[in-house]
C-alpha cells in the first residue's frame, strides 16, 4: 500500500492495526492505552542491590530465551555495556532468540553482528545502526526486520506497549548501592541520561551497570532506585575518550562556514527570530557552525535565545554561560563541556527522551521549538530526507531526533553540501524516507537555498531579506550535472528494516540490496 510519501509498504506489515504514514499530525487527538510493566516488589528492606556479575543479574531478572533487552546510547562510540551484556546472556547463559531494543547503536557494537549471523539475536529495534551491524542487517541476516524509530517514536512505542522491555540495562557513570544513577561524578561521564529514563520506568526489570560506585544517596538521580532491581559493578562501562570528545570544535571548513552563514541569514529573516526564540542544532560541521553566525545576528538585534534543546555540546554551553540563552534542556551530551555543565551551570537541565520528542504525550519540547538545523545524507525534490541509508542502500545512519524536531519546529532547516564525493545529496528520490517532506521547510546547500513550496510565508521572508533562493529541482539538476545521474539501486523483495514514522505508522521499508557486479 502506498503511503503519503509515495512509498510502497508491503501488506504483510500492516497487521495488528499498523497503518501506513498518512501525513503530519495524523494521530492528533487520538487516545492511547499506556502499557504498564510487571515489576517485582521489594518490600523487605534491602541494604544493597549489588550482585556479583551480569550473569547473576540476568538470572535474578529471570532472563530467558526470546526476551527483549533495552540499552541507551549515551556512551556513544565508547560503549562497552551492550557487548558485555549480550556476551553474558549468549555465551555464558546460552540464551537465544534475543531482541536488542536500543536508543541507538553504533560501530562500538560491531561484535553484535556475529550474534546476528549466528541467529542468537533475532530482532533489533534502534534509532541508529552503523558499522558491521548495518552491513549484516542490510545483507538480510537478521531473522526479523530491524525496526527503526526516532528518539520520540521510541518512548511512544514503549508507552503504547508496542515494545515490551523485559530487562533494561542502564549504563551508569555513577550509581549508589541501590541504583540511583547519575551521568556525572565517575570516570566514564556522559552527562545527561535522558534516553534511559523512559526505559527504566517501563521495563519489567532494570539492571544498573556502573564502574563507579558512590555513597548513597546519589542525588539528583537520573534513573531512580525505585525502578532498579540490581546493580552490577564492572571495571569499565566505556572508553571515556570516545564517550565525549574533548570539545566539539566549530568547523573551519570554508564550505561549512559558508553554508552556516546562510542558515543564520535564513533564520534571521523570519518573524520567529525574536527575543526568547528557541533553537536546536546538530553537531555536524555546518549545523554547529550556525551557532557562531546566529550569535552575530542576536548581538546585532540585541535579542537573546530563550531556550535550546537537544544533544548539547560546548558552543551551546558557552552561549548559556554568556547569558545569551536562558535555558538549555539536555537529552544527551556530545562533549566534555556539555557533560561538565549539566546540572552545574544554572539553567542547564536534563530531560527524558519522552519529554524531548514523544509525539504521543501531552506536549514534548520539540513542539515548542522555533528553529531546528539538521543535516541529511540525502534530500529529494519532495523535501523528503534520508539520514539512515547510504546512497548505496546500506544501513549506516540514524534518524535520531531528526523527524521529531522537524515535525515539531516552526522552521526546519536542512543544511548539506550538494554533493559528497560522487554522491548527489540533493536527488530525485531518496533511498529511504526517514523525515517526510511535509516537515522540512528550507534546504541550504553550498550551491544555493531552496524553500519548500508548502511554506509561502518563508519564501516571502527570504525575498524581503534579499536572500536568493532557487527551486529544489534546479539544485538536483545541478548536482546531477556535476556527478552524473546515478543508476537506480536494485533491490530484492526481502525487507531488512522497517522505518516507523514517529507516530507509529510505517514511513518506509529498507529491502535487501542487490550489489552490482559488472
Amino acid at each position: 500500500m502506498r503511503n503519503a510519501v509515495g512509498r510502497d509498504i508491503p501488506e504483510a506489515l500492516l497487521v495488528n492495526g499498523k497503518e501506513v504514514y498518512q501525513g503530519k499530525n495524523y494521530m492528533d487527538g487520538k487516545y492511547i492505552q499506556k502499557a504498564s510493566p510487571r515489576t517485582r516488589r521489594y518490600e523487605k528492606p534491602q541494604e544493597s542491590k549489588i550482585v556479583e556479575s551480569l550473569v547473576e543479574a540476568l538470572k535474578q531478572c529471570g532472563a530467558r530465551d526470546g526476551m527483549t533487552f533495552s540499552f541507551h546510547h549515551h556512551l556513544r562510540d565508547g560503549d562497552y555495556v551492550v557487548n558485555m551484556v549480550m556476551k553474558a546472556a549468549i555465551e555464558e547463559l546460552g540464551l537465544e532468540d534475543l531482541t536488542i531494543a536500543a536508543t541507538s547503536l553504533g560501530s562500538a557494537h560491531d561484535p553484535i553482528a556475529d550474534y546476528i549471523e549466528e541467529g542468537k539475536v533475532i530482532g533489533i529495534q534502534t534509532s541508529g545502526i552503523r558499522g558491521r551491524m548495518g552491513e549484516v542487517v542490510s545483507a538480510g541476516k537478521l531473522k526479523t526486520p530491524a525496526i527503526i524509530r526516532s528518539h520520540g517514536g521510541r518512548p511512544r512505542a514503549i508507552e503504547a506497549g508496542e515494545v515490551h522491555i523485559d530487562i533494561a540495562f542502564v549504563a551508569a557513570p555513577t550509581s549508589d548501592c541501590v541504583g540511583n544513577c547519575r551521568g556525572i561524578g565517575g570516570k566514564s561521564n556522559c552527562g545527561s541520561m535522558g534516553y534511559a529514563m523512559t526505559d527504566a520506568r517501563y521495563a519489567d526489570h532494570v539492571v544498573v551497570v556502573t564502574d563507579c560506585l558512590v555513597d548513597f544517596p546519589n542525588m539528583p538521580a537520573s534513573v531512580e532506585a525505585i525502578d532498579v532491581d540490581a546493580v552490577v559493578v564492572v571495571d569499565s562501562i566505556g572508553n571515556p575518550k570516545k564517550i565525549a570528545s574533548a570539545a566539539a570544535r566549530i568547523s573551519q571548513n570554508p564550505r561549512d562556514l559558508m553554508m552556516a552563514e546562510n542558515v543564520a541569514k535564513v533564520i534571521a529573516s523570519t518573524p520567529y527570530f525574536k527575543d526568547g526564540f528557541s533553537f536546536q542544532t546538530g553537531v555536524g560541521g555546518p549545523s554547529l557552525a550556525a551557532n557562531l553566525f546566529l550569535e552575530k545576528y542576536m548581538d546585532e538585534r540585541n535579542i537573546k535565545m530563550g531556550w535550546a534543546i537537544g544533544g548539547i555540546c560546548g558552543p551551546m554551553v558557552e552561549l548559556l554561560k554568556k547569558g545569551k540563552v536562558s535555558k538549555v534542556i539536555d537529552v544527551q551530551d556530545f562533549d566534555l563541556d556539555g557533560v561538565n555543565s549539566i546540572n552545574q551551570t544554572p539553567g542547564h537541565f536534563e530531560m527524558s527522551a519522552s519529554q524531548y520528542a514523544n509525539p504521543a504525550n501531552k506536549g514534548a519540547f520539540v513542539n515548542k521549538l522555533d528553529f531546528v538545523v539538521l543535516a541529511a545524507l540525502e534530500i529529494d525534490t519532495g523535501f523528503n530526507v534520508n539520514v539512515l541509508t547510504g546512497s548505496d542502500g546500506v544501513l549506516r545512519g540514524a534518524p535520531g531526533g531528526h523527524p521529531d524536531t522537524a515535525a515539531g519546529s516552526k522552521v526546519c532547516i536542512i543544511v548539506t553540501p550538494l554533493t559528497r564525493g560522487r554522491m548527489a545529496t540533493v536527488c530525485e528520490k531518496v533511498v529511504t524516507v526517514t523525515t517526510p517532506g511535509d516537515c522540512v521547510d528550507v534546504l541550504v546547500t553550498d550551491y544555493g537555498i531552496a524553500v519548500n513550496p508548502l511554506r509561502p510565508d518563508l519564501i516571502e521572508c527570504l525575498d524581503k531579506a534579499g536572500i536568493p533562493h532557487v527551486s529544489i529541482e534546479s539544485l538536483k539538476d545541478k548536482a546531477y550535472s556535476l556527478v552524473g545521474t546515478p543508476d537506480d539501486l536494485e533491490w530484492e523483495d526481502k525487507v531488512v528494516a522497517v522505518l516507523e514514522a514517529r507516530d507509529g505508522t510505517i514511513l518506509d521499508v529498507v529491502r535487501k540490496i542487490k550489489p552490482l557486479t559488472l
Binding site: Q252, P254, R255, L257, M258, G421, D446, Y447, L482
Partner: protein, 304 residues
Amino acid sequence: MIRRPKPERFRLRRTMMFMNAQKPGLIKDAYIYGCDSIMLDLEDAVAENQKDSARFSLYHALTTIDYGSTEVIVRINGLDTPHWQEDIRVCVAGGADGIRIAKCESAKDVHTVEAAVEAAEKEFGVEVGRTLLMAALESPKGILNAYEICSASDRMFGVAISGGDFRKCMQTTFQPDGVDMLAARGQMLLAARAAGIQCFDTVFTDLDNEEGFKAEVLQNKAMGFDGKSLINPKQIRLVHEVFAPTEKEVKQAEAIVRAYKEQSAAGVGVFTVNGKMIDIAFIPGAERTLRLAKACGMYEGDLV
C-alpha cells in the same frame, strides 16, 4: 565540453585563490566561494613527479567544469624547468583565461612565454591573442625590471609579487607593518600603473592571524593594489569588504558618470558635480568605482 567566453583583459580581480590543480576534490567547484579569479597551480603545489598527472587533471577540469563568470588562471612552472612548455600547451588547449608566469625577471621572459602561447594557440585552433598573461615577480631583479615586464605585451593584464621567495632573496622575513616589502610593493605598483595594468599583492599564509591579515589587506588597499592572492576561501570575504567602495564614493561616482554622459552629449567638457570641478580624467576612476560597487552588490544601476 565547456567553451569559456573570451577573457577580458581588464576586469575586477580583487581576489585570486590558489588551488592545487592535482586535487580533484578542490578544483571541482572552487568558484562557489565567490572569488573573482581562481589560480590553478601547476607549480609549487604539485610534486615534481606529478607534473604530468596534474596536466591531465587540469585539462579535463578546464574542459568539463563550468566555472561560470569566475576567471580561471593557471600558474605554470618556471622557465628554468622542463615543464613550462607543456604547461602552456595544456592551458591554451583547455581554454584557460590566463597564464601566470612564475619567477618572471625580464621582458624577455614574457616574450618567451608569449611566443609559446601564440604557437599553442595556432596549434590548437584558438584565436591568437585570446590567452592573457600575468607575471609574478619573485626576485629583486624582477622588481627592478618591473616596468619592462609590465609593458612587455598586450596580453599582460597584471603583475603580482610573490612574497615567500622575494623575502628570502632580500634576507628578511614577514613584518607586520609590511616594511619588509614596502619598496618592492611600491616599485611594482609604480610600474604597473605606468604600464596601465593591474597589480596584485602576495598571499598571507598565517590563516589563524586574522588581525594581521586585515592589517595587510588594509595596507594593500591604501597603497592602491587591485587585489590579492589568497590561499583559503575564508580569506575572500575580508578582501571584498576592504576593497568595497564606501556608499559616499558610490554616490559621487554615479553622479560623475551620469553628469558626464549628459554633458558630453551636449558637447560640454568640464562641469561641476556637487561643487567639484570634473573633467574627462575623472571618468575612468568613477566607472571603476561603479563596477566595484556592482560586484559588491552596492550598485544596481545601468551606468556600467
